[in-house]
């Protein structure tokens, strides 16, 4: 009898607790949706729960047509979206290629001072990256790379290599060496071993790295704002919309744009949760 009461109480407590958690988790999200599809001009007038009787696409009409200068070929948001899409796609391709090359080299060959070098690489990344940005800015100006998304992408790639090397290393060293040796006996070269044996076996981790590399640039703000002052990315667009100064101050458009970007990213993140235990071995953490 006592046991049964305990059981009922525990059940009630669990569900109350979880319901409260869900409400707290959803409230800001619901407010975002409400703001994105509302007609209100001020954020203060937006209710937390979307009022679908007053459903309006005005914000989105504005987001997809607003041009800061009438001469612009594309609306600001579309332009910044395409720029960021280019950066993310290129970064994905390069990061996968470079990470698999470095990961393969690190797991299958002996180097002088390999481990201190790996540690050094990770350590260097702990330096506040924007302090290096004065230098990056100078490099970009000297070589004439400012406002060019290609070179911005190279920075992301350089930044992604050390960490991904660790992840790939953790994965590739579980691929038995006897596979390489068998292939070598059959006359395969190093390159063939890598492309035909190791990389296909490491495909799941490559998928993980690719998605991360694709997601990384979307909402990075400081770096593009310094090396691409006249070529906006979506993060710069978002930040510009919600800052009171300088104009335009458009928090409603910020909400609409933020929701538009957040939804695909959320879907990918949720899909990616099965990879989360890689964090245990590699120390991954959402940034």
């Amino acid at each position: 009898m006592k046991y049964k009461v305990q059981r009922v109480l525990a059940t009630i407590f669990s569900y109350t607790w979880l319901t409260a958690s869900v409400l707290i988790a959803l409230a800001p999200v619901s407010w975002m949706i409400s703001a994105a599809f509302s007609d209100a001009r001020r954020l203060q007038d937006v209710p937390v729960i979307p009022n679908f009787a007053e459903f309006s696409l005005n914000n989105y009409r504005e987001v997809f047509t607003y041009r800061s200068s009438s001469g612009a070929a594309l609306p600001d948001f579309v332009d910044s979206f395409l720029t960021t899409l280019f950066i993310a796609t290129l970064s994905t391709i390069l990061v996968v290629i470079f990470s698999s090359l470095v990961g393969f080299a690190v797991t299958r060959f002996r180097f002088r001072a390999k481990k201190p070098a790996l540690l050094l690489m990770l350590g260097l990344q702990m330096f506040p990256s924007f302090m290096g940005m004065i230098a990056i800015f100078i490099i970009f100006r000297v070589f004439g790379w400012l406002n060019n998304p290609f070179y911005l992408t190279l920075i992301y790639v350089a930044g992604a290599i050390p960490f991904n090397t660790f992840i790939v290393r953790g994965f590739m060293r579980n691929v038995p060496r006897s596979l390489d040796e068998a292939a070598m006996i059959d006359g395969a070269t190093n390159l063939q071993v890598m492309i035909k044996i190791i990389v296909p076996l490491a495909a799941p981790i490559m998928g993980f790295i690719a998605v991360n590399a694709f997601m990384g640039p979307w909402l990075d703000y400081i770096l593009p704002s310094i090396v691409m002052p006249n070529n906006e990315t979506v993060a710069m667009w978002l930040f510009r919309m919600q800052e009171p100064t300088p104009a335009p101050f458009e928090p409603m458009l910020f909400m609409a744009g933020a929701l538009f970007l957040a939804i695909p990213i959320m879907i990918v993140q949720i899909y990616m949760q099965k990879y989360i235990t890689y964090g245990l071995t590699a120390g991954a953490e959402k940034g």
Partner: protein
């Protein structure tokens, strides 16, 4: 600045924790010392080898010597054109670049008319890419706008006569570092050329014959495959991580602060002066640094602990036998983790604005007064106020803003740990619990002696990385409060006016606003010194930790 007793006790605990770390770090410093000894030994061995080579094989040594005087000559004498020609052409290209980018041809004519007692910067006016780069790095420029030089006035920009243009110390420094890296690569090639000429000659004298081009290429491709495939990555890392790192490190040793207007003033090397300011020469710097460091550490620790604990609680509740539809609950609860951090932070900075969502909901529900009383009781608001609550802007009590930062961080961060710990829970062997049941263990005992140790051991590395991540969690502060509430002007010492931290600034966000958002007060040298300190703390911590992980040192 007036800490409550609770925070005082926390600081004490921190101090003890810090001493513990210092003791552990002794081994870290030993590693550093070993690195220096190792470098010293390597240099000594290098020269000993050269001396030995000269004594034992004087003839082969001469081949090496010819490569020393003319890169690639030794290879040509060894009849290895495929090595000699590329090496020689590298040398030729370097010299050509130096000559073409320089103005050496004008030098003799112009120097004839130059009165010898006048100042003259030869490499500045006539040097090419390399010599000018080295000169620029060492001197950081010599001439500023309005100075008279060789009978002319120095101006801001002169496209026809670039030697009349004022020196931009910052650019000179950046270019200088790039040049040093290129020179280092060339020196590497040079050393390779000398060694290779010597070794090949040894082989020839031993009767092994000269390797043909095709064989050599195949051998290099096979033996050095690993080095070749990391070259492109190495190039990118050098350009975008290493060079910027060295640059900002160097800025810490200059006087580059708000008093410097580029081209009108010169940046100068001034050694450790800024470091001395930070460590006590100017008490204002030291005191504010310690305050910000204290809050950064507390923030990093509390934010890591809270997300971990809540994540654990949620995982346990969802995984308990009382809850059905586990997957659905989990799916909804991970939404905050899935939203991009920047967006959540910007949305929350709107929610907790003075006329934001939080205040409006409280007034709609008629709860402003009771919430206010509650916060007054716990000491996050001072008594006597009225009206809407200043979450982020109350200059009298920054703890409210700090509290909200931790709450928002908790909202964003705990789902990650919930997922992680759920994964770990499923790996705990059921037999452990069955054994506990047989021994009559209670639920709380099972949790304490089986679940908790298992989970903590499995997630320990992630706790460490979360801590270092939060220590440098720039966005959590910058996008949420922007560092505010600000200090009152009267509280700020004169030497810090304009670059003072906000009351919720952590080190990294303070550094950023100091260097980039202080308008006329932008101060780079101090920001660089603080960056170096942050770097030493965080990198030291994580390298030390990583190097202790068994899995890291396992052979591949």
């Amino acid at each position: 600045m007036n800490e409550t007793p609770l925070i005082g006790r926390l600081l004490n605990a921190l101090k003890r924790f810090g001493m513990g770390i210092v003791n552990k770090f002794k081994s870290f410093f030993v590693v550093f010392a070993m690195i220096f000894v190792g470098i010293g030994r390597a240099i000594r061995n290098f020269f000993q080898k050269i001396v030995r080579a000269a004594k034992e094989n004087p003839k082969s040594f001469k081949k090496g010597l010819s490569s020393f005087f003319l890169m690639g000559l030794g290879q040509l004498r060894n009849k290895q054109w495929y090595k000699g020609v590329p090496l020689l052409s590298v040398l030729v290209i370097v010299l050509l670049v130096e000559f073409i980018t320089g103005d050496y041809i004008y030098a003799p004519g112009e120097l004839q008319n130059h009165p010898p007692e006048d100042t003259l910067y030869f490499f500045r006016d006539y040097g090419g890419l390399f010599t000018r780069g080295v000169w620029g790095f060492l001197s950081l420029g010599a001439l500023t706008i309005g100075m008279e030089y060789r009978g002319n006035m120095i101006v801001n920009e002169d496209f026809a006569y670039d030697w009349l243009q004022a020196d931009n110390s910052r650019t000179l420094m950046g270019e200088g570092i790039i040049i040093f890296v290129i020179v280092a690569v060339i020196i590497g090639l040079w050393i390779f050329s000398i060694r290779d000429a010597y070794k090949t000659d040894l082989k020839i004298r031993a009767g092994m014959g000269v390797e043909r081009a095709k064989d050599w290429l195949r051998r290099v491709w096979d033996d050095y495959f690993a080095y070749i495939i990391i070259l492109p990555a190495l190039f990118l890392i050098t350009l975008f991580i290493l060079i910027p790192f060295v640059f900002s490190f160097m800025v810490g040793f200059t006087n580059y602060d708000s008093a410097i207007t580029l081209r009108a003033d010169l940046i100068q090397w001034h050694g450790l002066t800024t470091f001395r300011d930070v460590f006590g020469a100017d008490p204002a710097f030291r005191d504010f640094f310690l305050v910000v460091l204290g809050w950064t550490t507390i923030y990093a620790i509390l934010s890591s602990i809270t997300v971990y604990v809540l994540g654990l609680i949620q995982a346990l509740i969802i995984e308990s036998r009382y809850v059905k539809a586990k997957k659905v609950w989990r799916l909804i609860l991970i939404l905050p983790w899935a939203i991009p951090g920047m967006i959540s932070l910007l949305v929350f900075s709107n929610v907790f604005g003075t006329d934001g969502l939080a205040n409006r909901l409280l007034s709609d529900w008629g709860m402003v007064e009771s919430v206010r009383t509650f916060f007054e009781m716990v000491g996050l608001l001072e008594p006597g106020g009225s009206g809407s609550i200043q979450w982020f802007t109350n200059p009298n009590n920054p703890n409210m803003a700090r509290f909200i930062i931790l709450i928002v961080n908790l909202w964003m961060g705990y789902p990650y740990f919930m997922l992680l710990i759920t994964g770990v829970l499923s790996t705990i062997p059921q037999s452990l619990y069955e054994a506990a049941d047989i021994d009559g263990g209670s639920a709380s005992q099972k949790f304490r002696y089986i679940t908790l140790p298992f989970v903590i051991r499995a997630t320990a590395p992630v706790i460490i990385t979360t801590f270092t991540f939060n220590f440098n969690n720039f966005g959590a502060i910058y996008f949420l409060t922007g560092g505010g509430p600000r200090y009152r002007t009267a509280e700020i010492p004169q030497s810090l006016r304009g670059i003072e931290p906000g009351q919720t600034d952590i080190l990294i966000s303070w550094i950023y606003s100091m260097a980039f958002e202080s308008g006329d007060h932008d101060t780079y040298n101090l920001a660089a010194v603080y960056s170096i300190l942050v770097f030493i703390i965080v990198a030291g911590f994580s390298i030390y930790y990583l190097s202790r992980l068994k899995s890291f040192w396992e052979e591949d």
